[in-house]
Amino acid sequence: MADIAFLLLIFFLVTTTLDTDSGIMRRLPPMPREEDMQNQDRIRERNVFLVMINKNNELLVELEPFDITQLRERAKEFIANPNNDPALPEKTMQEVPYFGTVEVCNKGVISVQNDRGTSYKMYLQVQNELVAAYNELRDELAMQKFGERFDDLPEDQQEAIRTIYPLNISEAEPKNVGGQ
């Protein structure tokens, strides 16, 4: 009996893969229709945070060379616009559950443009930093308002915070600038 159990045990030990599937969730924009094409690029300059990665994995943020270690802070500043800087995205008054009527900074769009030669590792690192910026801001707000981390909040409170900091990362139509 114990022999058979051992045999089975070893079989399952060998075949087990304990890797849980995890990753960064993202929603792709739907394929644009012909009539929508004219409406593109209508977002105002101050509302766009342009992140470009070239084929040598160098970063260009708002057309300046940038280091990836500071990207998170810079993105947070853009998303929240704490000092009402006119160069950063505009705010609108909006009714949000739990918060009442507050200034919401929901017009800002982070646009990531990459080259066909960019490495996937670099691309994902940039995506990761941007998602991290959102997560940190949401966590800070959740802590301040509800005294809990964002992930521990009930669904409707999470929704309220999501209304204040909506995830707006756009993946622009692919461009081929630097070749393969």
Binding site: M31, T69, Q125, P174
Partner: protein, 157 residues
């Protein structure tokens, strides 16, 4: 060795193994329950990149996988050393993705079709060119929920 030799030999009684089957069974059940059989054999080598902000994929039955990486050594004569796409058990082209998504979608119930997620398991050294092509194909197939597969780490550097 003299020091060891000096020690008096103690008689050690045989260990009571009566509880051994219990322990083995416990382990057995643990592994039986946690085991996830691999549904495909990987023909490409994939080392997913690291990330800190990963989320777990909840419902495995709603997930389809697309693998992109350099083919294994044994396939390199046939398929070269450039990153290739693997769908199910075969090497495929970008143009096959739409059909693959349609197939996968048909297997789901009507209510679940909107919740379908595509997990992109991509090697970290892959260039974005092929990834962009795949993303465009997914957009055409309107499979918009995607998940960039990554390993959880505490900090990237």
């Amino acid at each position: 060795m003299a020091r060891f030799g000096n020690k008096k030999k103690k008689e050690v009684g045989a260990i009571n193994t009566a509880s051994l089957p219990d322990i083995v069974f416990m382990l057995l059940f643990f592994f039986m329950v946690t085991t996830v059989m691999r549904e495909v054999t990987l023909k490409v080598s994939i080392k997913p990149p690291d990330a800190t902000e990963v989320k777990k994929l909840e419902n495995k039955s709603l997930v389809s996988y697309i693998y992109i990486g350099v083919p294994h050594k044994s396939f390199q004569d046939l398929y070269g050393t450039e990153p290739r796409i693997q769908l199910n058990d075969q090497f495929k082209q970008v143009r096959d993705i739409e059909e693959f998504i349609a197939q996968e979608r048909d297997q789901l119930s009507e209510a679940d079709q909107t919740k379908m997620t595509v997990s992109l398991k991509i090697d970290e050294d892959t260039r974005m060119g092929i990834v962009t092509d795949v993303k465009q194909a997914l957009r055409r197939a309107s499979a918009l929920k995607i998940n960039y597969s990554a390993r959880k780490t505490e900090s990237i550097r």
